[in-house]
Amino acid sequence: MLEVKNLTVGFKKDESWIKAVNNIEFSVNQGQIIGIVGESGCGKSTALFSILGLISKPGEILDGEISFGGHNLTTKTKKQWTKIRGNDISMIFQDPMSALNPAYSVGEQIREIIKTHGTLNNGKNNFFNKRKQRQKEKEKVIELMGEVKIPHPEKRYDDFPHQFSGGMQQRILVAMAIANNPKLLLADEPTTALDVTVQAQILELLKEINKVHNTSIITVTHDLGVASEFCDEIIVMYAGRIVEKGSSYDVINNPCHPYTKGLLNSIPTISEEKKIIEPIKGNVIDLAKVGEGCGFYNRCPYATERCNAPVKMTKINENRYVRCIQYLEGEV
């Protein structure tokens, strides 16, 4: 359904390009839930935004192809995008409070996405009976709000965003995103700003939508716990590159790349007894300084000189990939 090939996204700084996303490749099947995992600055959000063409100056897509339904999304014009966004592909954001316009009621904002794409009118706008169409759209909005489990949606249609709690606000965003039954839903750290209990609820909601509507979901998160619970497949990114790919069970339980291992080792767990938390030494490398070799070089306990040369993504199993020389040589 979606295929990302050789995607490179750069940000211009003082005459040179900093590659926030460096030649990444992955695909999503219909109905799959994919998680892109990594620390801040690894390029995961940039990758997500580029799927919807939302990269703006000083950023630019430098290379690659995003294939969706037979089209290449990297070449779409602004006008073409207005048909795709909110319709075939939707997005929900990290901070729901700031993602909702404080000046308009919640119901109207959800209705806007339906109205824009004329969903209830076969893609056209009914000029003749605006009032009737508006009523129909309102009903659909209330239905959607019910689907995302907002209590008493009819009463809350006219309420403003600041009158809702964080979890409710996120549900409103979800309602907006699924209004036109998109094939793909992009979620940029959807639970980061929420309390832990609410987090679980939102993830449950998204899972349900995935099951009921068969919507594919790509979620970006820095929380491995979320990824393991929620996603079918995990993509691990570091310094703009994908370093490991595989089913979530595999990646969590049998990590290959030293970075993934380091991540898992640095998570405190309640179940295991007396485990020492091992943080990963050092700091994330400055993206401007990343060369052609492995971006994890300066922190990797297994690194050798050879890691400074370009490292390819290698398939080690069915749907299992890793980008690491040391692993392939059994050093890890």
Binding site: L52, T82, F93, A99, N101, P102, Y104
Partner: protein, 335 residues
């Protein structure tokens, strides 16, 4: 909920108005020199007339009684009588007020028409040619003294180009009945297009002068507000929903970005009142400002006092209105 807050705010203005009345009153009474002497000027006035005037103006009473009477009179709308013109101050104000309102409205209109689109465009297309010219122009606008701008305008448009008249509101061959007191509107109402054109040509330069300096400020505020708003998440979301860019800018961004602009315009009304005095003087516009300036030069203290009180009153009301409108525009404050 909302109504109580409005009433609260209105009540809050009362102490301010009282304070203003106190200040104005104190100035009158505490300035060096006997007010009667200053008002009488050089003329030879008999003792009797002098003391008659003194008691008429309550000047022989102790200060606090004078103050009490003054405030009582004010509340009843009586601002005393102009000395030089021998007419009630409130009447004079009533006569000249429509002219000032007409000018002020025209100026606000011009500043909004020029300022807001310029600000929006500059924000959306930052560092474009129009942005740089626009911001440079507005920078010039706030550095310019309005009275000088007015004179230069007159020189250019009236003296050298001869397309606009130099002074006044209307050439004397025209008469317009007083419906609203605003010539431009009244002439339209009765369908006198010749008079309308004439009134408009008189209004043009002063409104442009006053409006241009305001437009500079409006443009800058709108631009900076828009730049901030365009970075907001909800603007990105609006794009992600598939809305065409113009809708993203107007429906989502502008709606929120205009809040500071509207606030500033409301507050600028106060500044415009001051600008009015000068612009009206330069253009010979028979409004409240010129009345005040005349009063100052004629040492007509009651008149000046009354006009200053009135200005303060309008300013306070304008601020109040801005507060109320702000509450309306920003739903977070409503509940």
């Amino acid at each position: 909920m909302k109504l109580i807050k409005i009433i609260e705010r209105i009540l809050a203005t009362i102490p301010i108005m009282l304070g203003v009345a106190l200040i104005v009153f104190l100035f009158m009474r505490l300035t060096p020199g006997d007010p009667i002497d200053l008002m009488m000027g050089e003329g030879n006035v008999s003792e009797a007339e002098e003391s008659a005037l003194r008691s008429q103006m309550n000047l022989d009473q102790p200060l606090h009684i004078q103050l009490k009477d003054y405030v009582l009179q004010l509340v009843q709308g009586d601002m005393g009588e102009s000395f030089k013109k021998n007419r009630p101050v409130s009447e004079l104000i009533g006569e000249t007020l429509p002219a000032t309102i007409e000018l002020a409205l025209a100026a606000v209109f011009i500043s909004a028409i020029i300022g807001i689109p310029l600000g929006v465009y500059s924000a959306v297309k930052q560092n474009s040619l129009i942005d740089r010219i626009g911001m440079g122009g507005s920078f010039l606008g706030i550095s310019m003294p309005p009275f000088w701008l007015g004179i230069v305008m007159i020189l250019i448009f009236s003296v050298f180009m001869g397309i606009t008249p130099v002074k006044g509101r209307l050439d004397f061959e025209y008469t317009i009945p007083t419906i609203t007191g605003m010539y431009v509107i009244d002439s339209l109402i009765i369908g006198d297009f010749a008079a309308f054109k004439n009134a408009l040509s008189h209004l043009f330069l002063p409104a442009l002068t006053l409006g241009a300096s305001m437009a500079a400020i409006v443009a800058r505020i709108t631009r900076s507000s828009m730049i901030e708003t365009l970075k907001a998440d909800y603007v990105i979301l609006a794009r992600a929903k598939g809305l065409p860019e113009w809708k993203v800018i107007t429906v989502h961004a502008l709606r929120n970005a205009l809040i500071p602009t509207v606030t500033i315009i409301g507050l600028e009304i106060g500044v415009m009142l001051s600008g009015n005095m000068i612009v009206e003087t330069v253009f010979g516009w028979p409004g409240l400002g010129r009345l005040a300036v005349d009063g100052i030069f004629n040492r007509d203290y009651t008149l000046v006092q009354g006009v200053v009180m009135f200005y303060a009153f309008v300013f306070v009301i304008a601020n109040l209105m801005v507060d109320i409108i702000y509450t309306y525009l920003n739903p977070k404050l409503r509940v």
